[in-house]
Amino acid sequence: MKSYPVIFALFIALLGIVVTILLQSAPGSVSGNPHPSFPSLSQGGDASRHDGITVLGWLFGALQIILFVVCIWVSLCGVKAHRWMVIVCGVAYLFVFTMLMITYRQGVAEAPFVLGFPLPTTLLLFGMWPMAAVFAILYVVKFRSWVYSPQDQEAFENLKAEMSSKGGDHDA
């Protein structure tokens, strides 16, 4: 995959989505209104505040998730073995985000309570949060094959020795 043209396309697409959203007229409660009884709190109106931008919102989030996966992908240039795991984790992350959007559209007030929160919020806290942590686990488990292999280490040591023997001012 030519990664940087893909990254460029993703950023253009994200910018395009933001511009499209900004060009829509925002409903009054889309970013919350003061609470009628407690001015220090805000309220979110109801779910209709997102009518007309739900698909754009899903796209905005989905493209970001794809971008995050591509960012990790580009850091693994030269790695051949098992890089597909990053894609699988990305697909799972995207799936959880999509389920969050779907359950939200079905209604927060009507949603079942799971682990102390309405289901869409549960998917955020207990779905997206740990799902993202899987990427950190991949980093730890695959460090020696993906990130800094013994061959990389040897190459770095050789490079250090070569630069030292050349001498001269290599200070940044």
Partner: protein
């Protein structure tokens, strides 16, 4: 002892600890390599804890609970971005920045940028963006420290002293003392204590908070949902698009925070990154418990009429500590809060001093001053003074905007230049310059826009827009121009 006296004892105790660490680190700081880079000798645990405590400033103790109190679940999007943000930062940056730092004896992030792009202009622009972000961030941290101390002193019968200038003077004096004497060594070791305190108090606070309402977290959420379902939903009151803009700026933004990536340069070995990441993540996750639990509890209690409405959302943590926490726990939390603010501020002071004394002269064609360590210490004092004066004389609304400005500038300037630049042979110096300049202009423009009373529609974070524009410029300009020639060692580093 009264609760207030207990709190004062913990806070002064922590300040005394900072001074002691400053004196200990002073003996170990003999050159700028020690002052800015801790001689590149930090272990896994200290690096891991220093990383998360740099990010988790007073915002995690005060601003975060305040956001949950005011907006419901919206700010959870800042928390859930953390694992993937840290993972991306480690994948993209940790290895190469550590290697490059050792090969080129780099002691600052602009050093790394200058080496990567073979450009003093890029060094200068990175330094400029760091200075702008540092002064902005420092001003918010100094003001936060002063407000906390003011709150504590005002309740004390013996002191009863609530002058903000006095509080700024006391808190800044301790901060400057250990930063000047011990540089980054003092900074990371105070971060270590701060991180441990934060993790401990977050767990204790969490269990205290969930015991205050029947049903614990579920009980809190039921109350919040009954009042307004959207505030208990995944977007809170901020709304879908605002929350998703936070997803972008706080995930990718970690990659561009100089007080984070500079610490990646200080580890003893390249391979230490493997264990540093889980320590950092674990610490951050634990401290997030405080953010969630206090905010939810206070919102639920106010809605149910069991607690008086707060004057300001940021009072959520202070009110919780005053009314619901054991005095010893409250004292420990206040000390932790101080520690959190100071640990972020000291990192900024150090990188700001490096930019002023080490990098800007080089970028302008001068050599570094002869006694660079001496001037680094002077610059540390100067920066702290400047930020303190700025914090005291600027309107509150401006200071409030500055934290977001700082994060946004760092994210939009440095994510493309450092994050992508260290992984992409084709990234050019012209693209790097364009990204940084656009970052400063757009983020600065949004500050002015919001000071004039306007708001970005849908609650979209200005920093997210700046990041999108700067990175699009960076990648686009690089794609459509010929790659710059690179020195051999940089070529080899890019292949690792």
């Amino acid at each position: 002892m009264t609760p207030n006296q207990i709190t004062l004892a913990f806070v002064f105790g922590y300040m005394a600890l900072c001074i002691a660490i400053g004196l200990w680190a002073w003996k170990r700081t003999t050159n700028t390599h020690d002052f800015f880079m801790a001689s590149r000798n930090l272990g896994v645990v200290i690096t891991g804890i220093a990383l998360f405590s740099s990010i988790m400033s007073g915002f995690g103790f005060v601003g975060g609970p305040g956001l949950v109190y005011r907006m419901g679940m919206s700010s959870f999007w800042i928390l859930v971005t953390t694992p993937i943000g840290w993972a991306i930062a480690f994948f993209l940056v940790a290895k190469r920045i550590r290697i490059l730092a050792e090969l080129r004896n780099a002691i600052s992030l602009p050093d790394v940028a200058a080496a990567r792009y073979s450009s003093e202009k890029v060094r200068g622009l990175v330094s400029l963006s760091i200075l702008c972000g540092v002064v902005a961030y420092l001003a918010t941290q100094i003001k936060a420290m002063a407000f906390v101390l003011q709150e504590i002193f005002a309740r004390n019968e013996m002191w009863g002293h609530d002058s903000i200038m006095f509080c700024v003077a006391i808190s800044s004096a301790v901060l400057v003392f250990y930063c000047v004497t011990g540089g980054i060594i003092a900074s990371v070791y105070t971060d270590l204590f701060q991180g441990i305190i934060m993790m401990l108090v977050a767990v204790l606070i969490f269990f205290t908070a969930i015991g205050e309402i029947d049903g614990g977290i579920g009980g809190m959420t039921h109350l919040i949902l009954a009042d307004n379902a959207e505030s208990a939903g995944p977007w809170g009151t901020l709304g879908m698009i605002g929350c998703l803009s936070w997803l972008l700026i706080f995930t990718l933004g970690v990659v561009g925070q100089p007080h984070v990536v500079t610490k990646m340069m200080m580890s003893r070995r390249v391979e230490d990154a493997r264990l540093t990441l889980p320590i950092t993540l674990g610490g951050y996750t634990l401290t997030a418990l405080l953010w969630i639990s206090i905010g939810l509890l206070m919102r639920a209690l106010v809605i149910s009429g069991d607690h008086a409405e707060l004057t300001r959302a940021d009072d959520a943590a202070a009110q919780f500590l005053q009314y619901y926490a054991h005095p010893v726990l409250a004292g420990l939390v206040f000390a932790g809060l101080f520690a959190a603010i100071m640990s972020t501020a000291d990192g900024f002071l150090n990188i700001g001093a490096a930019a002023l004394v080490h990098d800007l002269p080089k970028a302008l064609g001068f050599s570094a001053p002869r006694d660079e360590l001496f001037w680094a210490r002077i610059a540390t004092v100067g920066l702290a003074l400047l930020a303190a004066i700025f914090a005291l004389t600027s309107p509150s609304q401006l200071v409030g905007q500055l934290g977001a400005f700082g994060w946004g500038v760092f994210a939009s300037a440095l994510v493309p230049v450092i994050g992508f630049g260290l992984n992409w042979r084709g990234a050019t110096k012209k693209a790097a310059a364009a990204a940084i300049i656009s970052s400063l202009l757009i983020n600065g423009g949004f500050v002015v826009y919001q000071l004039m009373g306007f708001r970005i529609a849908y609650g979209i974070a200005g920093g997210a827009i700046a990041l999108l524009v700067s990175t699009t410029l960076f990648v686009g300009l690089s794609l459509f121009s010929r790659p710059d020639p690179l020195p051999r060692d940089i070529e080899e580093v890019m292949k690792l």
